[in-house]
Subunit: 286 residues, 2 copies
């Protein structure tokens, strides 16, 4: 069977690094602080929030929650973002998305101070990912894919990478970050013809469509590296990725590797979020 | 032989549209005006400048040239850009690049008012291309590729497109614009393994590396559409593209199509530049 690319060792290594940096910040009088902005009570958001709170606690990072009722309205949300922007004690902000349908998500993303945009939701951060110019943090899930590759010593230079999905949260940014690492990147999506064939030709596959178990044996071949970014719930109510894990792991075989869901990319994303908070705090001090 | 995708009819159609719009602007008291900023006397720049002056004249667009000596220095250049930014009578600015080595090109690009950045050189414009959010003009050469496809009724949705080259002037922006049109886009570059095979698999190929006649028969197959963005000088001193034209045209055959160099994309780029000047002027009036 394929090598399992687990989040655990990556998270442990990040933790070791971040604990020291958090202590140094506290010695300098700064407690690295994350703001979480949540609108409504979506189960996905609550689950991510619980993980983030626990992870932050383990690292000595403070979390301040700003919770709005689902029908609080755009003005209330914009007020909260202004409060986050104005508070020098907050170093980074995680706003759960998608926002409920009635909200103007783009305006909310653009209102956040780019210096606190640790999840790369605004144009300034995304411009940095696209152009390599300026300042800004990459979206955490995209950055988590690269942390995973780095931790397992997987070099993408010159290799074919298929990114399936083209969202601004993960598909497009991770494509640009892999291109920056000299991969030959193909961005696939719902309109792609011969999708299975295109995925199968790649050396490295990033699945980021949020379609439970949608990618099975015909998409994979011996020796591929599969990063499964999807976090979905299957028919039995269990967490699962975009890949049909058993089929994919069998297809990529002993020379291949695949991230499971859960225990794969998801947990690394939370650690990257904390890393970005610490980096942002460091910029205010050192 | 392959269908020749010529710039001429595309330029003529753009001209017909723009003349009417220029007249409407003048009737409203505004003369659409392009600033050209040139540092030094590079032959490429002078050639583009001559074409732009002629094209502008034919459309009733005014051009103001700001010419600096090659050794004028960054401060002098920044002063010129500030002058362009401050002048309400200027609607768009073309700054020739690359700047001589001693200059900080990124700072110069970012100093230009995004509203006048009609060639998409600053981060705001590039962020628009990447995210689809906000305002801004795409780099003219990238936009010219789409004008050419549109003029010849070539739909890229669902098709495989190989973009060879990953510059911010053309490769990355055109890749994002084709993705927006639902193409399955692969970005290739100097580090791509099996480059010829990757190009040959695509339905549409955009060559944008600036390597004279570098792509020959092994890169192409029957039925492909080839957009050759390169403008190079061959060993005999004649203009040529990135493709070995004769070999490529023969390989793509009667069901294929290819842009020649010259007489292809280059001239359309100049017309797109004028279109952006007019659009920018219209925003100040209507």
């Amino acid at each position: 069977m394929a090598l399992e690319l687990l989040g655990k060792p990556v998270i442990a290594a990040l933790k070791e690094d971040l604990i020291g940096r958090t202590e140094a910040l506290k010695a300098a009088g700064v407690v690295p602080t994350l703001a979480i902005v949540r609108v409504g009570e979506r189960e996905d958001d609550l689950s991510y929030e619980r993980t983030a709170l626990k992870r932050a606690e383990g690292l000595g990072i403070e979390v301040r929650r700003f919770v709005l009722a689902e029908d609080a309205g755009q003005d209330a949300l914009m007020d909260v973002i202004a409060q986050v922007d104005d508070d020098a004690g907050i170093h980074g902000c995680l706003m759960f998305r998608p926002l409920p349908r009635a909200y103007d998500e783009e305006s909310a993303c653009e209102a956040l101070d780019p210096a606190k945009d640790i999840d790369g939701i605004g144009r300034a951060a995304l411009a940095r990912v696209f152009t390599g110019r300026g300042e800004g943090f990459a979206p955490c899930t995209a950055a988590a894919c690269l942390e995973m590759l780095d931790a397992y010593g997987i070099d993408v230079a010159g290799k074919r990478v298929a990114v399936v999905g083209r969202s601004l949260v993960i598909g497009r940014p991770v494509a640009m970050m892999l291109l920056e690492r000299n991969a030959t990147v193909t961005v696939c999506h719902s309109r792609t013809q011969n999708l299975e064939e295109t995925i199968r030709e790649a050396d490295v596959v990033v699945l980021a469509t949020g379609r439970a178990k949608a990618y099975g044996a015909p998409c994979f071949r011996e020796g591929q590296v599969v990063l499964d970014v999807g976090i979905n719930v299957d028919a039995e109510g269990a967490l699962c990725g975009d890949a049909d894990y058993e089929a994919a792991a069998a297809a990529v075989g002993e020379t291949g590797a695949i991230t499971p869901v859960p225990r794969g990319i998801g947990g690394v994303t939370t650690s990257v979020l904390m890393k970005h908070v610490v980096e942002s705090a460091e910029k205010t001090v050192f």
